[in-house]
């Protein structure tokens, strides 16, 4: 098992009488893409800001690369905030060099890394342009470049895909996967569950400031499956054992299984009973459905 890049333990924050984040525990492994999901106002951004010591937690601790968080930790982190922007009147190259230097690079290193990063994100030709001359999508890619210019070992992206067109979204996904291949741990917070399913190894879902789901994506989905199968079959349904009810879903029918009955035994029965089986699929909720159910139900407790 890879070593931990980040360990968050018991993080809490209260503003006035409102508890924004409560007892947050999670860890992120090196080389892992980790999803931080939850509805608006759930406490995701506050959790990220506390993790980075942008705001001080009331309680809890943060360990980064097996060391307590310190000034030195910042040089190993890249952060793309949800509310983002850069100096509008400055040149792209100068901004990246400046932000690289604040991460501890020397002047010559920062210049070299800036050039490499701009090439990596396909923005090399815009190096000498002012930030204000770029389109919104280009600006976001530049901002991503600023996040990784110092080759961080942990990258935190807060809603990285918002405002991006499909082309730039795909580009950003490629860049994120590229970071993962290099062993960089990536945390991203988003509402877009399709991206989480596509990219993330594990997720943490936050609701009302508390962790409500935490684990590998497949296990989280497994925990919320209906124990049903979708079938397109011409055989006698009433003779299949272990099915409590059948519901028509258009092209398919959903068979709800009795507790303890495995989908495989239903498939065996269908084969033995005869008739053409055109479709058989074990029902598994999408992360989007899990997200909606948890958000609506306000379901608590970790899976």
């Amino acid at each position: 098992m890879p070593a931990e890049a980040l360990n968050v333990s018991g993080l809490s924050k209260t503003y006035g009488t409102t508890q924004i984040v409560q007892d947050m525990d999670f860890s992120v492994l090196r080389g892992e893409v980790f999803g931080l999901i939850g509805p608006n106002g759930a406490g995701k951004t506050t959790t990220i800001r506390m993790t980075l010591r942008i705001i001080q937690p009331d309680t809890g601790s943060v360990t980064m690369f097996d060391k307590p968080f310190s000034e030195e930790s910042w040089s190993r982190i890249g952060y793309l905030p949800e509310e983002r922007g850069l100096y509008k009147q400055a040149k792209v190259f100068d901004v990246l060099v400046y932000l690289g230097r604040l991460k501890g690079l020397s002047a010559s290193e920062a210049r070299q890394r800036t050039q490499e990063t701009l090439e990596l994100i396909g923005m090399g030709e815009h190096a000498q342009k002012k930030v204000s001359e770029l389109s919104r999508g280009m600006g976001q890619l530049i901002q991503f470049g600023a996040t990784i210019v110092h080759k961080p070992e942990l990258v935190i992206l807060d809603e990285p895909f918002s405002g991006l067109d499909p082309v730039n979204t795909e580009k950003l996904k490629e860049l994120v996967l590229g970071l993962q291949k290099q062993g960089t741990a990536v945390i991203f917070s988003t509402h877009q569950m399709n991206n989480v399913e596509e990219l993330c190894d594990r997720v943490l879902m936050i609701n009302h400031g508390r962790a409500v789901l935490y684990g590998p994506v497949s296990e989280v989905k497994q925990g919320y499956r209906n124990n049903s199968v979708f079938v397109a079959w011409d055989g006698p349904r009433e003779r299949v054992r272990g099915v409590s009810r059948w519901e028509d879903r258009g092209q398919t029918v959903e068979a709800y299984l009795v507790d303890g009955v495995a989908p495989e035994s239903v498939l065996v029965d269908m084969v033995q009973l005869g008739g053409a089986i055109r479709h058989f699929e074990v029902s598994m909720p999408s992360l989007h459905e899990v997200f909606l159910r948890v958000a609506r139900d306000g379901r608590n407790g970790r899976e």
Partner: protein
């Protein structure tokens, strides 16, 4: 480890310092405002020279007609006075432009003290007013006392007193080094003005820089690399340096302009500045600057726009200038109650101490106490502003209420 961390923080402050200094100095507005003052000086000197040149075309010779009969009828060539016997001749020379004016000393001058001056209606702006009355007065005094008193008394009548000032220190002893009045005033006033200019300039730069980072949302990226205190320190030093560059340019320009203008204006050439005066001026300039800069950072963090921050920055400059508004009270009683109270109030302390320095020898415990008050206040302001910086810079597009500001300042973190 602490050493390495300290080195990291210092490096980051240096990077922010360079960035801010370069950012301000690459602004066109910075150079326009910097060039404006010397440009006004150049214009004033050019106009002065033009007027002087015009005045030079006119004759500067002045005549007099002595009907009293006691004034000399022969005047050395280097003195621009021309005695006339004939009133008509003097009038003709005046109208012909040979003389600029002529004075008539009447026979009953001793009884009335009146003399009459005749001029053309279109006289030059720089007329004989500058020299003729003084020379004529000297001649009149010489004539009045010539036969009445001994020659040495006659000389003393013309120059009755040369005032020499002796100052006592706070222990009642004669101060060891007596400086001339100009140099005594120069350093404190120079540092006072520099402090006000630095506060005025820096408030603009600081508030603009901070509100821009807030508006463009760059601030959160910065906070993921440096602590608010580090960011604040870099900004205060960088923007302060920009202010000092501006002041240095102005001082250099002032020196060059003064040299240029020396032919037009009488300027002192041998000013000696006492080192302790320079050191104290510099100390209170630095402490005052850091206090105000720290306060202004807090204002910038709370303000939602550069305009809003600029208004509060204007108040800060006014607060620093309060001792200058009450200058007569402080100078007249430099060790009085008001002056001493202002010495220990942080926002008025820097300028008050400098003004008191120009008027008297300040007790050392006042200087030390004031410096301590300023150090404590600047440290407190830095800590409070860092807290405001951390909290309010992440409130995008919303101004916190007074209650929220108060609660935040009181709460930890």
């Amino acid at each position: 480890m602490w050493h390495a961390m300290g080195e990291t923080v210092v490096n980051k402050i240096a990077v922010i310092f360079q960035f801010e200094l370069r950012a301000v100095m690459s602004r066109r507005m910075f150079w326009i405002t910097t060039a404006l003052l010397p440009a006004v000086g150049v214009v004033v000197i050019l106009v002065g020279r033009l007027i002087a040149a015009v005045a030079d075309d006119d004759p500067s010779l002045v005549g007099y007609v002595d009907q009293w009969g006691k004034l000399p009828m022969e005047i050395p060539a280097e003195i621009p006075l021309e005695p006339y016997v004939d009133l008509e001749k003097a009038k003709t020379d005046l109208l012909d432009g040979i003389i600029e004016a002529y004075y008539v000393v009447p026979p009953d001058y001793v009884e009335t003290g009146s003399i009459v001056r005749y001029k053309r209606s279109s006289s030059a702006i720089f007329s004989e007013d500058n020299f003729a009355p003084a020379i004529l007065n000297t001649l009149l005094i010489q004539a009045l006392v010539a036969d009445e008193v001994p020659p040495d008394v006659a000389v003393r009548v013309q120059a009755p007193a040369f005032v020499h000032t002796v100052r006592f220190d706070s222990g009642g002893e004669i101060a060891p080094e007596e400086r001339d009045e100009l140099s005594r005033f120069l350093v404190p006033y120079l540092f006072s003005i520099m402090l006000l200019v630095a506060i005025g300039m820096t408030s603009g730069f600081l508030v603009q820089s901070i509100t821009e980072e807030k508006q463009t949302r760059t601030i959160e990226v910065l906070f993921s690399s440096v602590s608010p205190t580090t960011l604040m320190s870099g900004k205060i030093l960088g923007l302060g340096a920009a202010g000092i560059v501006q002041i240095a340019i102005w001082l250099t320009a002032a020196w060059l302009l003064a040299t240029l203008a020396s032919s037009v204006l009488p300027l002192p050439s041998d000013i000696v500045i006492a080192p302790e005066s320079l050191a104290l001026g510099a100390l209170f300039f630095i402490l005052g600057y850091f206090l105000y800069a720290a306060l202004l950072v807090g204002v910038g963090a709370i303000a939602t726009s550069p305009q809003e921050g600029g208004q509060v920055g204007g108040f800060a400059t006014f607060a620093a200038a309060i001792p200058l508004v009450l200058i007569s009270l402080i100078i007249n009683e430099p060790n009085g109650v008001l002056a001493r109270i202002f010495t220990f109030v942080p926002i008025t302390a820097p300028v008050t101490v400098m003004l008191r320095m120009s008027a008297t020898t300040i007790p050392w415990w006042d200087i030390l106490g004031s410096a301590v008050v300023l150090v404590v206040a600047a440290t407190g302001a830095t800590l409070l502003s860092a807290r405001a910086f951390r909290t309010f810079l992440l409130l995008y597009g919303r101004r916190p209420g007074l209650r929220e500001i108060w609660r935040t300042m009181r709460s930890a973190g």
